[in-house]
Symmetry: C2
Subunit: 370 residues, 2 copies
């Protein structure tokens, strides 16, 4: 994997991505364009810090950060970028750029631009037109290259191994938090910098809360459901999978519910191919759950894209009529939640391929009774 890491940090991908962005901006007449989203900056440059901006102009690109990141950023950037260390805030650099280059209008990436930052910039250059534009880089990120798919597959493999690890070390005397900490520790031992989100370890009625927070005090116990939703960041890319286990004797109806959720998931996965509407995938799972009488117990959307962010384009939900593209990676994660009793969710990561789909997730979906 070091070769891929090297390529990402030093190689062709960064140059290619910048070229594509330049072509988009040229075709749409949107130079200069300012990038505020740090994940988008990471995508273009490999920079992983907490403060940076890009100004992409037709004949020059500017990378702006502060002194804390100066040495690190210099190791990443090639001649494509002019390097600027901001002395105070970004506003001063922005103002100077506008004035020196006599810019009449400038296009701003909207997804992470806060209204107070926008107003500060606007007040600094009142004569210049500031135009919120499309988030082109997030759109680019929705289609992964083969190198990115390889890295994300590795992130999923590590999550699969973590499920195996949990099944080995599990005992009902552990608190939810202890199991959650085990997940985190497993990831760190496997060279993941962090979990891709706070791991969900939910037993009993907690499993009926789709985004439950593991308890420090509550033991997992027996005769209960155990829902585990987690993932890691590997080489900056995320994974996200969910499995629900049965511990001891669980009311019979949850066996039925498990199978309904699994069938719903399969219906949705089978539909995945380029050109299908995201909302139709959502509907495939939702309709099945409704038909089986649990429509009111599945409130969230079916899935989301995964990449540098654990939630990114495309969103698999009822009000998104966007068409799936080959190279996107999405989750399919239906669930049924009975308040006060428990819930079942099953989540896989699916890669959209030219032919249809590839399920990236290896963990068993048989009912496992611990």
């Amino acid at each position: 994997m070091n070769i891929i890491k090297y390529m990402l940090k030093n190689g062709k991908q960064k140059i290619m991505r910048l070229k594509i962005l330049h072509k988009i901006l040229k075709d749409s007449g949107q130079f200069p364009y300012v990038v505020f989203n740090l994940k988008n900056i990471r995508y273009l440059t490999g920079f992983t810090g907490s403060n940076a901006y890009l100004i992409i102009d037709e004949n020059a690109n500017y990378f702006i950060t502060d002194s804390r990141y100066e040495i690190f950023a210099r190791t990443l950037l090639n001649d494509d970028y002019r390097f600027i260390i901001q002395k105070k805030g970004f506003k001063d650099v922005f103002e100077q750029f506008i004035k020196e280059n006599k810019i009449q209008k400038i296009f701003l990436e909207p997804s992470e631009l806060k209204i107070d930052v926008f107003n500060t910039l606007k007040n600094a250059v009142p004569e210049t037109e500031l135009i919120p534009a499309s988030d082109y880089i997030s759109e680019m990120r929705a289609v992964k290259t083969s190198d990115e798919i390889k890295i994300i597959q590795e992130a999923v493999n590590i999550a699969d191994s973590c499920i195996d690890h949990i099944l080995k070390i599990f005992n009902p005397e552990m608190t939810e938090w202890q199991l959650s900490a085990e997940i985190d520790s497993f990831y760190r031992k496997n060279n993941c910098r962090r979990t891709s989100f706070d791991s969900i370890v939910a037993s009993g009625p907690g499993s009926a809360m789709p985004h439950y927070v593991p308890s420090f005090e509550k033991k997992i116990g027996t005769d209960t459901l155990l829902m585990i939703d987690m993932g890691c960041e590997y080489l900056d890319y995320c994974s996200d999978i969910t499995r629900t286990f049965f511990i001891g004797n669980v009311p019979e109806k949850f066996m039925e519910i498990y199978n309904i959720v699994l069938e719903a998931q399969n219906y949705a996965i089978e539909m995945v191919k380029p050109g299908v509407k995201c909302c139709d995938i959502d509907a495939a799972a939702r309709t099945h759950i409704e038909k089986r009488g649990y429509g009111n117990f599945f409130g969230h959307s079916l899935g989301h894209g995964v990449g540098l962010d654990v939630h990114e384009n495309p969103y698999v939900k009822s009000d998104n009529s966007e068409l799936l593209k080959s190279g996107s990676i999405i989750t399919i994660e239906p669930g049924i939640y009975i308040e006060g009793e428990g819930g079942i969710r099953i989540e896989d990561m699916i890669c959209v391929t030219d032919e249809g789909y590839m399920n990236m997730t290896g963990s068993s979906k048989e009912i496992i009774i611990l």
Copy 2:
């Protein structure tokens, strides 16, 4: 600590904070007011999820989230809030609120409001005036109550214990990443949900990068500096401390640099009391470092507030003339960084008291040679 947790979750603090906000909004004539910042929502309600909004009106408060958080949120909220589950996005709820209540103008908290969200809301209710207002809750958060100070003190104590733990288990054969993972594991075993930021473990020339990322491959080694900057989140509140250690034989000049940084820190800390300008605290440390000839090697600002966020108001930097208030908690963290060789930073957390200050940090600042 369970009593404090209980109070925070159920008790007086939430009611008091909401009352103060109501008074501010009434005095400034800024009803209704929409809250977008999740940490501010946590401050008012205890909600820890990833999607929520508040609409604060003179005679009613609305808490809006999605179905994933429904059960969890209901357990937190008292009668002060009307509870709304958004079916699609926040936009629909916002539009309905504006139309049902015939709102002519509405005030929006600016700090986390993205320009594209602002434009979406604006387009939904073109007849209504949308006014970015002040971030009143962040201002409230800059002054901690005695209960908050107790919790943050505990978060600092855990970080101090973590320094002790590191000194016990350290050996030069460990990679930077292994030591970083040890820090994380220590925090999780001590009931911290997460680190308050990615721990910095930097040896050799890496310590000259103020925000270095620990290497998976690089062993810490001997005859080197070791900079550790880390903190935890305990009951949602953050800590943040830095210590720099000497391993084996380090060039003599770093002993001198260590003492300059420590002196600079002491000059700054001694100035801390209510009514002093933040920029003057920064200047106290910076002037000393300049006088000793290292002005060009200390690029970042001196410190920042710490609370629910690890970086929050007040910012201790050269362009902030805000006056310190009793009850604020800030870091004081000067550093000197020599590119290619190494760097020294020493960071304490300081509570501003009525009389002056209390240093919350217990870890030794003697030069420690490992």
